[in-house]
């Protein structure tokens, strides 16, 4: 079968997680069987020129279903969030690299910021009790998916900007002396950079999922450039095809793209 394709997928289940975050489960047919956590879908928004990239939160091949958690951030996500059970998503999926869990008996640290948490769920599940999730949110009422990680056996630690839930402060302050063998992270760039430094300090591998504005989503248009470090020097890779998940050491962190505010603060 094709490596990726477009598909009209009926919304089987919709739940509101917080004021502006919605949880969708859609009938994705055989696309579910070839999708994995960390990969993403380009979702068509009626009336818009560009599809919207949304991570695959979980793939359930048995039920031929995909799960997406979507935060309203602008016009496109508002349209998607307004769709109801029975409506459908027009997906182009699965796209990009996913997380590579590797040996799930390792102690794995998952670091997520805001809407960066959902893509970690599918990757964390196989680690069960070996996984710690350190997640940061704007405030207590923005916390999402805590129960899902706990149900998978993971330990969940939460930080909020305003201290209204968990610890007040940065998600990286949740770690203390915790030891781990591998890190998986998704969230705003400043957070990912901090996590990447931490991984360097501790000498553990770290996989980060990046965001960039996209057009084609399949690697053809070079719209979604990210500065990478390769054997022959620095170059622009494609978030959509070479990523969105990258080895943190291959990413050039200081390149003037540090302009975005932490995404859970916008």
């Amino acid at each position: 079968m094709k490596q990726y394709d477009t598909r009209r997928c009926a919304i089987r289940r919709k739940r509101r997680l917080t004021g502006d975050v919605f949880d969708f489960t859609v009938d994705a047919g055989d696309l579910a069987g070839i999708s994995r956590a960390g990969q993403f879908a380009q979702i068509y928004v009626p009336g818009k020129t560009l599809r919207r990239p949304i991570s695959i939160c979980e793939a359930d091949p048995e039920n031929r279903a995909l799960r997406f958690v979507i935060q309203v951030r602008g016009e496109g996500t508002a349209v998607l969030a307004g769709l109801e059970e029975g409506d459908s998503f027009d997906l182009l999926a699965p796209l990009g690299t996913g997380f590579e869990p590797g040996d799930t008996s390792r102690r794995a640290l998952f670091v997520g910021g805001g809407i960066g948490v959902p893509p970690l769920l599918g990757a964390a599940k196989p680690f069960g009790g070996n996984a710690v999730l350190a997640a940061g949110f704007r405030s207590g009422d923005a916390v999402i998916l805590k129960e899902d990680f706990e149900a998978a056996g993971c330990e969940v630690r939460i930080a909020t900007d305003d201290g209204s839930f968990g610890r007040r402060g940065l998600v990286t302050e949740l770690l203390g002396a915790t030891e781990f063998d591998v890190i998986f992270a998704c969230g705003p760039r400043p957070m990912l950079r901090a996590v990447s430094r931490l991984a360097d300090e501790r000498g553990v591998p770290c996989q980060v999922s990046l965001e960039e504005r996209m057009a084609c989503g399949v690697g053809a248009c070079l719209g979604c450039a990210v500065r990478l470090r390769g054997a022959a020097g620095e170059f622009y890779g494609r978030v959509c095809r070479d990523g969105p998940v990258f080895d943190s050491r291959s990413v050039v962190w200081e390149n003037g793209t540090e302009r975005r505010a932490a995404s859970w603060q916008t």
Binding site: T6, L50, A215, C216, G217, A225
Partner: protein, 303 residues
Amino acid sequence: MANLKVRVAGVEFRNPVIAASGTFGFGREFSEFYPLSALGGVSCKGITLRERPGNPPPRIAETPGGMLNSVGLQNPGVDHFIEEDLPWLKRQGTAVIANIAGSTPEDYCRVAEKLSDTAVDMVELNISCPNVKQGGMQFGTTCAGVETVTAAVRRHCSKPLMVKLSPNVSDIGEIAAAAESAGADALSLINTLTGMRIDIRTRRPVLRNNTGGLSGPAVFPVAVRMVWQAYRRVKIPIVGMGGVSGWRDAAELMLAGAAAVQIGTVLFSDPYAPVKIADGLNQYLDENKIKNVSELTGKVQAW
């Protein structure tokens, strides 16, 4: 079943639907969806003499009915193209157009020279890319510039030469005539209009390059007008593009004067668009008992 074949400057296209440069890479990614032989041809991402890194991100912004890009000619260089991309692409059963760019006429000429010895079907001279500081658009916005580059490349290029025009001009007819008189075998238009978006929260341009090229349905009426104006000034064939999103738009551009059309931005919302457009044209021709798609070209009856 109508005949969808078209000939442009001696090159045969199985149908008049060609992927637009920069939106289709070198074809590999979209070949996951359908065999590229479903397309009349593929215009490759703009190729330069040496590898180019492209512009820093963000490179993409959405606009009402369109988008901006500031990719900026990121490409692996002509030698890499000839060795790694072209052989694969030539095996796909579609016409291959090499879109080339440069900073000086000499650069363009050397790229054209190298491509002259390859299996490329046609060279498309991009003198209109708004996203590079050196060269690029300034060649495309004056008659003298267009003539200089076109004439120079003409001398070094043994392939059919198509010159791609910028819409950022006052009189496209004049520019089209300049390219024709300097030896172009065909014209393609339009490239992108220069545009800009600003994030009102950060007060920063959305694109790291500040400005970018506008494409998509928003520019379609400008494309129709320019193809029509160019068609009335030149005898060489015109490949039309700019905002085509369905077979009706393709037919409209052909009526305005296009011998074939390129499609770009619509691929991003519907990767199957070229297939649907070719099918739609076919059905339209059958329903209207038109035998050859080329009968549409230039058939608008102006008031």
